[in-house]
Symmetry: C2
Subunit: 344 residues, 2 copies
DNA sequence: TTGTACGCGTTATCAT
DNA sequence: ATGATAACGCGTACAA
C-alpha cells in the first residue's frame, strides 16, 4: 500500500481560487485576512482533512516542537516519573517528548545527544550517566545554543540550568532517623561519587553521624552500583570484614533490597537486629513483606519544574539573555517498617 | 545565546567553487562524481563540520528514519525491555526511536498516534491500551500506509503484523505446575478480557484445570487491573466470599505481590498454605523475601523480532506487496519459592 | 563529470 | 485584503 497523498495549502488554495499565502495566513489566524475568507479556508481545510506538515514548518521556522530527554534507563520508576512530569507540562504547549536512554554509558549518551541535535529538537533534558566524566558532548549542545536542562544527576557546567533534589538533606534526615531509633553503628552503601547525588548522600550521612558524635568507620562505607545484585555483594563483603553494624543506610532501594536479602540469609532480623533505610521510594518498597523506609524525591514535580525552566529559557533566548537557573527540591522521608528498632 | 549557524552543502560548494549538486552527489557517494572531487568534498565537509540537515532530507525524501513506539507505560520493565530490543535492532540501521505513553487511555493513544503521524515517522510499534476497544485510530495509521506492528497487546486488524507471546501456553504451564505441586483449589486473578493477553491467560488456566479434571469455580476468578493495590483488593474480596482456595495464579506480578501481602495479613503462609504464581518475571520478583514463581516473556527478543518484521515490511512496501506477519513466542516458567507446597 | 533548475510544504516579504 | 515570490536545505532529472 502506498502512502496516502497529503493535502497541502495549495490544494485548499486551488479549491478556493485564492493564493497559498492567503491560505497560510488564514490558517495562522493572521489579522491581515478578511473574516470571510478566513472562515472559508478553515471550513474547507477541515473538509479536506488538512494537516499541517510539521517537517516543512520545522525546516522553515527552525522549531520542531520536539524536546529530547536523555536518561540512564527508562524503566527506573524515578526517571519514568520525571518524564511524566515533563510531558504533563509540555504537551499542552504543543511539544512532543523524545525519550532516549544512555544505559549508563557516556558514549551512548554522546551519540544520543548528537542524534537529538540532528533531529533538530528545541531543547534537551538530561540526567547524566554514571560514566560521564568528560562533558565535551554536553558543552557542545550548550554551544549550539540549544536550551539544556539537567535534572537529578547534573554536572557543573556554566550556562546550564538544573533541577535537583537536596540529596544531602535526604541522607542527613534518613541517617538521623536511624540514630533516633536507637541504632548506633550505621553502615552506608552508597553509589559512585563521580555522580554528585551519591557524593551528597554520603556527605549527608557523614554530617548526621558527626552531629550526633558518632565516629565514622570507613570500613562500613562502600560505593557500589544501584542494583539488587550489588546490594547482595556489598553485604557479603561487609560480613566478611566482620565489623559489626546494626543499621544500613543505602543510597538505592535496589541495593537495600539486595542487602536485606543477604542480611536475612545470615540470620539477621530486620528491623530488630539491623535497621535499613533506602533511597528513592520505588513503588515496590511499599509492598515488601516488611515495607522499606526510604527517601522520596517527588520526581513528577521535578519534571514539571524542569519543563517550566525550559519554557522560561526559550522565552529568554528571544531576549538574548542567558540564564542559569538552579532549582533544588526537598526530599521526604517515608518511615516504614524496616527502621523501627523495637519492631513494628 | 543564538543558534550557531549550520553549514550547508552550499557553504561547501562555494568554498570549492563547484555546484551544490555536485557536493550532494559526492556526499551520497554517487558514481557520477570524479574520485578527486569526491575526496575533496568529503575532506572539506569534515573540516567545516558539516552535518546533513535531517529535516530537509525528510521533507525531500519523505523518510525521517524515526519510528514511534506506543506503550501503556514506559516504567514497566516488560515494555522497557521490548523497547530496548527494538532499539538494539534498529539503531544500527540508522533509525531513532520515539517513545510515547498512552497511560492506558484510548484517547491518549489516539492522540499519540496522531502526533507520530504528524512527525512523519517511518513506522509504528504499538501495544494497545487497556481501554482500546474502538480501533479507528489504529486503522487510520494502517490506511495512511505507515508500517504498523503490534507487540504483546494486539487487536485483530487485517493488514497489521504482530509479535506476541503464547499467553495461553504460559498460563496453562503455570496452572499445571501448581496442580502438580499438589494444590487443588486454584484461584485466578486475571486482567480485563478486553485485552487478548488476559483472555488467553484465562483460557490457559481453565484448560489446565479441565485437563486435570478440576472443576472451575467462577467465584475464584476475577478480572482486575495490573497493580499492587488491585491485588490487595482482590484478595480482600476473595476472603469476604469465604470460599477456600489453596493457590493463586495471577496474570500480573504486581497483583501477585499485593495478593501475597493481603494473604499474609490474614495469617496464611506462602507457599505452605497457599501457593502463588505471577506473570511477567518483573525484576523484583526474584528478590522478594520469598522469590515469586512467575511466567517469563523474553521481551527483548520480542522487540528485536518486531523490529525485524518492520524492516521486512518497509522493503516489501517497495515491492507493493502487503504482508501480515504473525509471530508468537513461547513463554518460560520460572519456578521459585512461592509455589512449592512443602516449602523450600 | 558537472551544472541548472525544480520541488518537497510552509511562511515572510514585498508588492498590489 | 490578497497575490507573487523567495527562502529553509536537500536530492535529482535534465541539460551540457
Amino acid at each position: 500500500m502506498r502512502q496516502k497523498e497529503k493535502v497541502t495549502i495549495y490544494d485548499i488554495s486551488k479549491k478556493l481560487n485564492i493564493s497559498a499565502a492567503t491560505v497560510s495566513r488564514a490558517l495562522n489566524d493572521s489579522n491581515r485576512v478578511s473574516l470571510k475568507t478566513k472562515e472559508l479556508v478553515l471550513k474547507t481545510a477541515k473538509a479536506l482533512n488538512y494537516q499541517q506538515n510539521a517537517l516543512a514548518l520545522a525546516l522553515k521556522s527552525g522549531r520542531t516542537f520536539n524536546v529530547g530527554v536523555v536518561v540512564p534507563y527508562i524503566n527506573h520508576t524515578f526517571f519514568a516519573s520525571v518524564i511524566r512530569g515533563i510531558e504533563e507540562e509540555l504537551e499542552p504547549k504543543g511539544y512532543h517528548v523524545i525519550i532516549c536512554q544512555s544505559h549508563e554509558d557516556v558514549n551512548n549518551e554522546a551519540k544520543q545527544l548528537k542524534t537529538l541535535l540532528n533531529t533538530h529538537i528545541d531543547g534537551i533534558f538530561i540526567s547524566v550517566s554514571k560514566t560521564t566524566e568528560d562533558v565535551k558532548h554536553i558543552e557542545e549542545v550548550r554551544d549550539e545554543g540549544i536550551p539544556l536542562i539537567f535534572f537529578d544527576r547534573k554536572k557543573d557546567i556554566s550556562g546550564v540550568s538544573s533541577v535537583t533534589i537536596n540529596d544531602y538533606e535526604g541522607a542527613y534526615n534518613a541517617t538521623t532517623h536511624l540514630i533516633e531509633q536507637g541504632y548506633k553503628k550505621i553502615a552506608h552503601i552508597g553509589g559512585d561519587h563521580k555522580l554528585q547525588i551519591y557524593k551528597h548522600r554520603y556527605d549527608g550521612y557523614v554530617a548526621a553521624l558527626n552531629d550526633h558524635n558518632i565516629a565514622i568507620d570507613e570500613n562500613l562505607i562502600m560505593q557500589v552500583s544501584s542494583t539488587v545484585e550489588a546490594g547482595i555483594e556489598a553485604v557479603k563483603l561487609l560480613m566478611k570484614r566482620k565489623i559489626a553494624f546494626d543499621a544500613l543506610f543505602s543510597a538505592s532501594d535496589y541495593v537495600a533490597l539486595g542487602g536485606m536479602r543477604e542480611l536475612r540469609a545470615h540470620g539477621f532480623k530486620i528491623p530488630e537486629d539491623i535497621g535499613v533505610v533506602g533511597f528513592s521510594n520505588e513503588p515496590f518498597t511499599k509492598y515488601l513483606e516488611r515495607p522499606l523506609t526510604t527517601v522520596g524525591q517527588t520526581p513528577v514535580l521535578m519534571g514539571q519544574i524542569a519543563a517550566q525552566v525550559f519554557l522560561e529559557q526559550i522565552s529568554d533566548v528571544k531576549k538574548n539573555v542567558q540564564v542559569e537557573k538552579k532549582v533544588v527540591l526537598s526530599p521526604e522521608l517515608y518511615t516504614r517498617d524496616t527502621s523501627s528498632k523495637k519492631g513494628s
